[in-house]
Symmetry: C2
Amino acid sequence: MIVSEILRGLYDGRYVPGQKLVESDLTKRFGVGRGTVREALQRLEAEGLTTASLHRGARIRSFTRDGVRDLLEITEAIAGLTGRLAAERSRSTEDLTELRGSIEELSRLIEAGETFASAQLRFSILHAIAALACNQELFRLMPRYDASVVRAQFRVVFDAKGARAELEQFRKVLDYILARDGDGAELTMRKFVRRTAVAIQHLPDEYFDH
Amino acid sequence: MIVSEILRGLYDGRYVPGQKLVESDLTKRFGVGRGTVREALQRLEAEGLTTASLHRGARIRSFTRDGVRDLLEITEAIAGLTGRLAAERSRSTEDLTELRGSIEELSRLIEAGETFASAQLRFSILHAIAALACNQELFRLMPRYDASVVRAQFRVVFDAKGARAELEQFRKVLDYILARDGDGAELTMRKFVRRTAVAIQHLPDEYFDH
DNA sequence: TGTTTTGTTATTGTCCTACAAGTTTGTTAG
DNA sequence: CTAACAAACTTGTAGGACAATAACAAAACA
């Protein structure tokens, strides 16, 4: 699939924010028709990974300082809602124990330096929390790939230290969910995003698009 | 544009939730190629107006009871954020006076029974509030058309009485924005959505998809 | 030299046709 | 009435053609 391949390429640096995606290149690269490529590009745009303008084609998104602030403001609100709903609505105890298991595995992966695997597991943990929230619409919003662009563009922020801090937040959220404390879960999820937002805003200008 | 035409058709009942959208019909109806139709359908799906499944094509979305609850939970969070940011960040006084003018005009349109015009103005008021929030990402989320489906499917809820209640909420939000009261603006915007959600949940089963 | 104009090229937007893959509908036999 | 089968329809995908536009390079001019 073109979309997942570009995502993967974004992770390991083959694609970088701002890069142009030319249709004819992609048809050759993936051996598919132009229609298929165009559909993939549209999907990428809908999910926030690229921006397109008329007769100019698609580029991988590149955030300005304000742009990433705006995105993370919304992400914070959505993450908070997810935490709250998970705490207030989760019923399945087996999902919760599975979540605890995933968190501990993430801890191992981080310490082992398995960055790609831990990024994937991190995503699946967020997905699991969204599942606890029993809200299907969250799944329509969650796989938005703009988060992947943020991680690619501000890679320095997502180091092992940040990962450990995130891990701690995951543990706290899980406790709040178990305690059915909606306020606590919301606040923790929000802090989890805001910590990232603050770290990014502290970066110097050269990390941002202009 | 196909998208806007279908939106319009959804408003005045030519398209109804659950209805199938066949590519060949649309090519004839709009006199465009199949590729163009497919792109339009994809855009509609990305924006939540239709759902598509493999080899079965696209249908206009039809909400279950839980589905619309889920959607409005998220809408409430986003609307709350919009209100908060508008109160905390708005600087331009001319935008504010223009907003006040739009609200008064909406009042006139509602009393005159101009339902389509008032629906459009209502949308542009929400847009104006989002503009006050100074967050470009909100504009990427706002034009999601799933709200149009909700209005089409649960039409009875959006009557003149509801419109007047909304109007009152708009006035309150504007006051909170002028007072730079983020908490008040957030709460009012949230109530504004929740009122709709509650009204919809009170409808009998036959209004919902199963 | 620097700037404006013009022409070339590359890319996208849209259309068309064709065929394979899959779903839905209709028919017939049991 | 049900199940199996066949036909018709719809979608998914490939590939080609053409016009519209943008990006770039070259030429003309001040």
